[in-house]
Symmetry: C2
Subunit: 343 residues, 2 copies
């Protein structure tokens, strides 16, 4: 696989987005989140999505120039309207605002409506952790899971994210998880390779377990812990969708839906550690917790959520691997936009 | 199984607890939470625990007379010290305080340290929902799950709970879930009956999957979604344990540990719907969401989290079934306490 310099990815993303009327400031935030995805090992949430963004801007379903409007702002709780702009910008702004609120009140809550898929939740959890704040981020997404016992997808796999700072130069605890047992991407891959999928990944259109990836793609994903994961998906939809004024209950559209607004919602809560204990006490306790995770286990490789991603990002400090297919798609896009650069 | 009048359970619990120096006011709250557990179908969290409470009070590890102290109270965020009293009273108080904060600020957060197992989380979610507030409740618990990839239990099955009001006379949405795939009680039952347990429920002491319930009881429970559920358990321990000043990272003890404080922690967040939208808009949206869950599914029996429990509580409006074994244990306790009543 081609190794691509991070600088090159950064330039490509920023030039592409600014060509599509995104401001330089905003393009830098989006690019930073894409670089974060690649560096931490989540390339699926990276530059491969750039052609989708450009297509959506061109067909009018992604607003490149919004600066957001504040729907409500009542001290501790606010709601933003992302005006169908980039989810990355909306989530970044929401975390920023929630941090300001948490500085004053100990907690800040910012809901976002009319947004789009924001890429990897870990980026925004990390944003808060870098400033030494604890965060919870829920985002709803297009239907993929049925209510437990049902056969029709209503709720998304909806990232649920939690972030806790661990200290200067150390990997923050970042749990960024979907509510489905397996990602839809793995099922698509199995279909492409004519392979069976394990029972327990997906249900067919009638709600029955299936090993056939093609039936699975027409059906629904199995939530983690069965009714528990299905319940979590619904709860995230309530916080991030219903409560913020975004689409909900099956009305959020996929990122690559043509010509319609996706109407994703996000729910961000930031907590200020100082309202609970001193920084010194927190630091000692976090270190104690991590030592307890690692001690007396049968292997030495036990890592806490976020630790591997952090190590990846150290390794991938200059370049990352991008597939030939994605490189070629991006180069096509650059030519189409008459940008005189390539990957 | 004997059918026992709810009035009788109420009298037995209140008389037992007041005999053990719990105030009448507090005994009524604890009894109400026990009745709620039985009526909603969670009898495992009910009167069978009364002998444990009495034993703990007698051996000095459960404080029957605490009124709690407020460790910190900074407008939106507070921390309570339960002083090793009943978890039910601490959680009830925390929800009450968080509601008052949410009335003024849109959100209220109350952490609790030095508490005990509070029974069923749904009771406290319901407490908030009855007053038309949204709630999130995390509680940590004694070690039962290993960090993912490990073999030693560090984190609990830690109830995670979310509650949303649905409207007058209707079942609130109450998701009250453990982070393990199967409850330890089911494994104990299999051991008693010399039955195998399904693979996927538990790991042995070396971290390997096991079908032997006795090996499972010495090992750890499998978290929902593998690393995801293990991560959720850790996050709950961070919010409810580390952040509140309670025990954490494996230091919380089981309810039936003899003579030592359990040091559970709870984390309660209450949201005020009015800070997001009008009651009318919320009501319409909740009804829309529920209609979307129920429509076009293959069966007609799809219920949202909390709905079956609510229907159970309607059915069980006068009496519930309690096993012979529990009835006899309670009657023994009543004799021992020289209370002139029986079940």
């Amino acid at each position: 696989m081609p190794q691509i310099q991070l600088d090159v990815i950064d330039t490509v993303v920023i030039q592409t987005l600014t060509k599509c009327r995104v401001s330089v400031k905003n393009a830098k935030i989006i690019s930073d989140s894409i670089l974060f995805a690649h560096r931490t090992g989540k390339g699926t949430h990276g530059i491969s999505r750039l052609p989708i963004y450009v297509k959506k801007i061109n067909n009018g379903s992604l607003n490149p120039t919004t600066e957001f409007s504040v729907v409500k702002d009542r001290k501790v709780v606010a709601v933003l309207d992302a005006e169908n702009g980039f989810g990355q910008l909306a989530a970044h702004k929401a975390v920023e605002m929630a941090i300001e609120k948490a500085k004053e009140f100990g907690v800040g809550i910012v809901g976002v409506r009319n947004s789009n898929n924001f890429g990897t939740a870990a980026y925004f959890l990390n944003q808060a952790a870098q400033e030494n704040f604890i965060s919870t981020i829920y985002s709803n997404s297009a239907p993929a899971l049925a209510p437990w016992g049902g056969s029709k997808a209503v709720f998304g796999t909806t990232p649920i994210g939690y972030g806790f700072p661990v200290g200067e130069g150390k990997a923050p605890i970042l749990l960024d998880m979907a509510t489905s047992f397996a990602a839809r991407g793995k099922i698509r891959l199995a279909a492409k390779n004519n392979e069976k999928i394990p029972l327990g990944w997906a249900l067919d259109q009638n709600g029955n377990p299936t090993e056939d990836p093609n039936e699975a793609l027409k059906g629904t994903l199995v939530p983690i812990g069965e009714h528990k994961g299905a319940g979590l998906s619904m709860i995230v939809d309530l916080f991030a969708g219903l409560l913020t004024g975004a689409g909900f209950a099956g009305d959020v559209l996929n990122l690559n839906t043509n010509g319609e607004y996706s109407r994703n919602g996000h729910f961000v809560m930031v907590l200020n550690i100082d309202f609970f204990m001193s920084p010194e006490e927190y630091q000692l306790k976090i270190e104690y917790l991590i030592s307890k995770i690692k001690e007396q286990q049968t292997t030495n490789t036990i890592k806490y959520p976020g630790e591997s991603a952090f190590e990846n990002s150290k390794t991938n400090s200059e370049y990352v691997q991008i597939s030939d297919k994605v490189v070629s798609e991006i180069n096509q896009l650059l030519t189409q936009l008459e940008l005189n650069i390539s990957m």
